[in-house]
Each structure stands twice: as structure tokens, then as C-alpha cells.
């Protein structure tokens, strides 16, 4: 899995609350059972104008310098809705490595960890202040997963929390399945006990 240790990059603002995964990647844009090809489809219904799919000049990610931003400053409950992991693949393949928001949809947040994208939760007032600053196109943030801090110009530092295993997985770029399979014996022991305790679970 892709590592995340530290990132100093331009931030783009998208402060709307409840941005759902249907908006991040509309179902009609998911046209093949592959994990690739989603970057150009990120926020498709906001990013393009129909019928000719022209870029919408009013949408933030179509405007320089936000088209090369690597940090998204987002509104609360970002990534709520459908579990589709294509939402995170689209975020990552567009170029984002980090999303800062007051809160996330739970499945989206879990999917981020599996794809080398760092979801940072900060208090709403801080996120909104950073989002407003980002509108100028000149906000660079320094996100450091070692120290769990986001640093902004002017010596401001925001601490964030993240679960220990998720942090270690991102820092080391670990493979979660490989880690779990190291506990194969414990899983087998559990299943042996469980076959005796709950045989109906196993007789399918």
C-alpha cells in the first residue's frame, strides 16, 4: 500500500457539507470493474457541463492553481453515502493525498486508509478558516503524520488524532491482509472453538 509520511502541498477548498460519494464519483461514471481511470471523473457532475462535457469554469478544481492541489479542505460529513471505493480512487487519482474535514462518512474514511489517502479531522471552525484562506489559491499546508499535525502559514499548528494501527499502516505502507495473515493460527483457533460453539454458522 502507498505510504504517507509527510506532505507539503497546495490546498483546494470545497466546504459544502454532506458531499456524498455519488457526487464524488457518480454511478454512471463507473463504467468498468477496474480500479483505474477515475481521476478525470472526480466530481464529474459538478466538474463538467453537459451536453458536451466542457469543463465548468466555475468549479474550483477546474481553476488554476487548484487543478494541481494535493490537499482538499472539505465540509462536514465528507464522503457520506455509498460505500463505493471508487470515490477514494477518484480522489487519489486526481492527485489528492489528504482530505481535511470536520468529519467523514465512516466507510469513505476507512477506504482512505487502504489507499494511501490521509483523512484529517479538525474542528469545524479551523477547517472553515483554512477553507476560506485556501480560496486565494496560495494556501500551502504541511501535513505531518509522524507528529499528527497540520501546519499553516504564520506558525499555526493544528493537532489531529488518528487510530494507532491506521497511522502505522500509512506510515509504513503496510499490506493489511499480509499483516492479518500473520495471525492465521489465531484465526484457525477461533474457528475451531466457534465450530463447536455455533455449529449452525458453519453448516451452510
Amino acid at each position: 500500500m502507498e505510504q504517507f509520511v509527510r506532505l507539503k502541498a497546495l490546498a483546494a477548498p470545497l466546504l459544502r457539507p454532506n458531499v456524498d460519494t455519488d457526487v464524488i464519483i457518480p454511478s454512471r461514471e463507473i463504467t468498468s470493474p477496474s480500479r483505474e481511470g477515475f481521476g478525470a471523473k472526480l466530481f464529474a457532475s459538478w466538474r463538467y457541463l453537459e451536453p458536451d462535457r466542457r469543463p465548468n469554469p466555475d468549479f474550483v478544481l477546474n481553476r488554476a492553481p487548484f487543478d494541481r492541489a494535493q490537499i482538499l479542505v472539505a465540509g462536514e460529513n465528507f464522503g457520506c453515502g455509498s460505500s463505493r471505493e471508487m470515490a477514494v480512487w477518484a480522489i487519489r487519482q486526481f492527485g489528492f493525498r489528504c482530505v481535511v474535514a470536520p468529519s467523514f462518512g465512516a466507510i469513505f474514511q476507512a477506504n482512505c486508509y487502504r489507499n494511501g489517502v490521509l483523512p484529517v479531522v479538525l474542528p469545524k471552525a479551523d477547517v472553515e478558516a483554512l477553507g476560506r484562506e485556501a480560496e486565494s489559491g496560495g494556501l500551502e499546508l504541511d501535513v505531518d503524520l509522524e507528529s499528527c499535525t497540520v501546519s499553516a502559514p504564520g506558525g499555526r499548528t493544528f493537532r489531529f488524532e488518528i487510530g494507532g494501527p491506521e497511522r502505522e499502516m500509512l506510515l509504513a505502507g503496510l499490506d493489511a491482509i499480509g499483516l492479518t495473515l500473520k495471525r492465521r493460527d489465531e484465526i484457525r483457533a477461533f474457528q475451531t472453538r466457534d465450530r463447536a460453539a455455533r455449529p449452525w454458522i458453519w453448516s451452510v
Binding site: 455519488d22 454512471r28 470493474p33 455509498s82 463505493r84 472553515e128 455449529p199
Partner: protein, 470 residues
């Protein structure tokens, strides 16, 4: 012993290993995959050289992008749909898992068939790369939605890593009045406490109104736990549940039945169990609910009005309200009842079960859908579709002017194939009213199947209590 909640009991019974920092390696008793997000799980595993840990505990189904018109095949109106179907079928065969394929009489929406077949059981853990997996909490399972990569982890190891959840008890007190349903309960809860009201929690739904619900209604209630922002939700199994589970194809058979029931009877929360949060909602005064905006939290009683953004709690919420009103083409103060609709949809993992169809049909019997309204009903599974046909419900729907379809997820979301045509304003028994969810520019009003049926007849959003069942 320290009193425990049902959530703690199921959790404790599934811990394979404690990983520190509040995280556990949890055993997953059942994994479901579907053709939309399952191919990526199975292909990823195969590419990494991982084997399926326990093929007998993994199930696949084709439900998401399949057409629902009679005579359907692998070819879909959605361009490229056949690639999802065929890829998933091939991968499922190679993985050696059970597949409920298109031509299987047990095919249907994943969260409808898992309890219907007796695969989802009280006290079991179940995951699926699909956010509405929480639906099967209605049977007393601890079930939650994951991404495709976690799906890979579940299939390869039969486990997932999870932080121990915070717990919440939601007390639905009182008894529902006629014409008010489980769908109205969950919409009202989300409307009252917000789309993030259950954040980071596992919820037990209880109280007098929940105890009075049948299992299918409990599945509806739990279905929208994800719209409440929660990790998952469930209803403790009771006599109603146990009677419902008995005899289902994959349910415990005679030799294990008594032991299984004894296990399930020990699961309800102990008196004195500790909760991290408690919420309450009085059902006695509850009206049928309908959403006005683009979040499930934008729910009001059907006799309510579109709220004023000026009353929003803060500037961000106000901007969200204004954007929702613009998308929905509504004005503050406008009554919801009476708003003209152009399409009506009954279906989805929220509200497509036999009891939903019976209730809607009872209201539609001898009535007609208003001219110009496109109306369709999509049963949640092939099994229940046949049961409904045996009861003559298909004829009631068709005589009323509804299209009667094959089972699948259908227009709960727009994938580029089937659509509502030119219709813009839709009353729908589904779970998400997001911008563009049911088609570009489509304005979705979430409601119960009863409210959808009443509105289809009126041609405008209508209170089902005004139309007596026939």
C-alpha cells in the same frame, strides 16, 4: 458479570485477537459480494495471490446494474454493465463461492435475500462492500458496509480490523398510528438528529414501537442507519424474529435449531447495560415523513412546509439549505403535500419486501395512477416477486398503472441505463435523495411505499392517511 449491551455481546463473541489501541480483529461470519463492487475485491485478491479463506461463508449475487425489464440478460441498458456481470460471474466461479446468478430463483437485492434465505442470522457478523449492509441488523445481526479493499481482506482472512464502537440506544416510544411505517420512523430520526446524528456509533433500536414491528419493517428501519451516519444498527431478535427465521433455506436445521435459539435468546441487552449515548423519538404523534431537500436529514412531516434557510443553525448549513432548495426548485414556506410529481418508485433494499408491496397494493386496489405519472414497482427478490404474483399483487399494481418489474436495485440510483425519462420530480421509497442520485437533475422525495402509492394516485405528494386501504 458486568451488564452488557447486545452490541458488546456480539462483538465479544467475534474477537479473534485484541490488537491494542481499542482495535480488534473480528471474525466475519458471512461475506456478501455483488457485481458492482465485488469484482474489484476478488480480482485484487487473485492478483495478490491470496486464496479465499472459507468459500462456504462467502456469497455472491447479481443485483446492482442488471436490467429489471422482463426478458433481461447479461446485456444491460447501462453501457458496459455486461462486463461487470460477466467478470463477477467468472471470478466468483474461480473463487468457488456460491453465486445467486441472474437466472437463480433466489436472486434479488443483496440485503433482501441475505435474511430471506436465512444466511443472515441473529448474532452473526456480516459484511458486504455496500453501505446498506446495515439493513440486516433488522434480524439482529451485526452487519456493516465496507469498501472493495476491505472486502478483499474479509474474503482472504474471514476477519476485519475494527475499532470497538461507541454504543447508542434509540428508544422509539409509543405506537405508530395507521398509515405510518418504519420508513417514517427512521426518516424522522434522521430529520430530528441530523445525517451525522449516529456518527461512530453502533445503535440498538428498541422501544415499544420497534417491538411491534415485523421483521421486514425492522430491516427497513436498520437500512437507513448509514444515512444517520452510524457505523451500524440492529434490533435484538425476539419471538417475532425467531418465528420469521425458522425454516428458511440456510437457517439452522433441526439438529442445531435449539442451540441456535438458545444462543439468540441470550443476546438481548442486559438490564443496566451502559450506553455511550441515548436518543428518544415518540412514535405516537409521528406523521408520515417526506424529504424536501438533498439530504435524508431534510425530512419533515407530510403536513409540513419547506424550511427557511434563515433558520439554519450556521452559515454552512444555511448555504447547504439554499443549494438544496435551488436543486429541488422549492421555496421556503411551501407545503410539501400537494407538490406535483412526475414519477413514483417503489423498490430498493429499503422498501421492496412483500409487506411493503402488500401495503401499497391495498391502497392502490381499484385506484389509478394520475395521468402523466410514470410509476414502477421493483420487487426486492425473485422469491418475493413470485409470492406477490401468487397473491395477485402484480395485477393490482398493473391495473393501477404501475409497471411490474424483475427484481434488482433498479432506479434507486442512476447508472446510465434505465431512467425516469423526462420526469424531474420523483416520489420514491428508496434511501438517498442526493443530487443526481436517481438521474441528472432528478429531484427525489424520500417516503414510505404507502406515501409513494398515495402520491402516484394523486399526481402530487399526498398523505396516505387520507386514502383508506381497499
Amino acid at each position: 458479570m458486568t451488564p452488557r449491551s447486545i452490541i458488546e455481546k456480539i462483538w465479544d463473541a467475534h474477537v479473534v485477537a485484541e490488537l491494542g489501541d481499542g482495535q480488534s480483529l473480528l471474525h466475519v461470519d458471512r461475506v456478501f459480494l455483488h457485481e458492482r463492487t465485488g469484482p474489484q475485491s476478488l480480482a485484487g485478491m487473485a492478483a495478490a495471490g491470496h486464496a479465499v479463506a472459507n468459500p462456504a461463508l462467502v456469497f455472491g449475487v447479481i443485483d446492482h446494474i442488471v436490467d429489471t425489464e422482463p426478458g433481461r440478460s447479461d446485456r444491460t441498458r447501462f453501457k458496459g454493465g455486461d462486463e461487470f456481470i460477466r467478470t463477477f460471474r467468472d471470478l466468483a466461479r474461480r473463487a468457488g463461492i456460491r453465486l445467486f446468478d441472474l437466472d437463480d430463483p433466489r436472486q434479488g437485492i443483496v440485503h433482501v435475500i441475505s435474511p430471506e434465505q436465512g444466511i443472515a442470522l441473529p448474532g452473526c457478523t456480516l459484511v458486504c462492500p455496500d453501505s446498506h449492509t446495515c439493513t440486516v441488523g433488522g434480524i439482529g445481526a451485526l452487519a456493516w458496509g465496507i469498501g472493495s479493499t476491505e472486502g478483499e481482506h474479509a474474503v482472504a482472512t474471514q476477519t476485519l480490523v475494527r475499532p470497538r464502537p461507541r454504543t447508542m440506544f434509540v428508544d422509539f416510544s409509543g405506537q405508530l398510528g395507521p398509515g405510518v411505517t418504519a420508513k417514517d420512523m427512521i426518516l424522522a430520526l434522521i430529520g430530528k438528529y441530523g445525517a451525522a446524528g449516529g456518527r461512530n456509533h453502533a445503535i440498538e433500536f428498541g422501544g415499544a414501537a420497534v417491538r411491534a414491528l415485523g421483521v421486514e419493517a425492522r430491516l427497513t428501519l436498520c437500512n437507513m442507519t448509514v444515512e444517520f451516519g452510524a457505523w451500524t444498527g440492529l434490533v435484538a431478535a425476539d419471538d417475532t424474529t425467531i418465528e420469521w427465521v425458522a425454516g428458511r433455506p440456510f437457517a439452522p436445521q433441526a439438529e442445531h435449531w435449539d442451540a441456535a435459539v438458545a444462543h439468540w435468546r441470550a443476546l438481548p441487552s442486559d438490564a443496566g447495560a451502559r450506553w455511550d449515548a441515548r436518543l428518544e423519538l415518540d412514535c405516537a404523534t409521528l406523521a408520515p415523513q417526506v424529504t424536501w431537500g438533498t439530504s435524508p436529514a431534510h425530512a419533515v412531516g407530510i403536513d409540513g412546509i419547506v424550511p427557511d434557510p434563515a433558520a439554519a443553525p450556521d452559515a454552512t448549513a444555511r448555504a447547504g439549505f439554499e443549494r438544496a432548495l435551488a436543486y429541488m426548485d422549492l421555496k421556503p414556506g411551501q407545503p410539501l403535500a400537494g407538490l406535483p410529481i412526475e414519477a413514483a418508485f417503489i423498490g430498493s433494499c429499503t422498501n421492496s419486501r412483500l409487506s411493503d408491496l402488500r401495503a401499497a397494493a391495498a391502497l392502490l386496489r381499484g385506484r389509478r395512477v394520475a395521468p402523466g405519472v410514470k410509476a414502477l414497482v421493483v420487487p426486492g427478490s425473485t422469491t418475493l416477486k413470485k409470492q406477490a404474483e401468487a397473491e395477485g399483487l402484480d395485477r393490482v399494481f398493473e391495473e393501477a398503472g404501475f409497471e411490474w418489474r424483475e427484481s434488482g436495485c433498479s432506479l434507486c440510483f442512476y447508472s446510465g441505463g434505465d431512467s425516469f425519462g423526462d420526469a424531474r420530480r420523483v416520489i420514491t421509497s428508496t434511501n438517498r435523495n442526493f443530487e443526481g442520485r436517481q438521474g441528472p437533475g432528478v429531484r427525489s422525495h424520500l417516503a414510505s411505499p404507502l406515501t409513494v402509492a398515495a402520491s402516484a394516485v394523486a399526481g402530487r405528494i399526498a398523505d396516505p392517511r387520507m386514502l383508506a386501504a381497499r
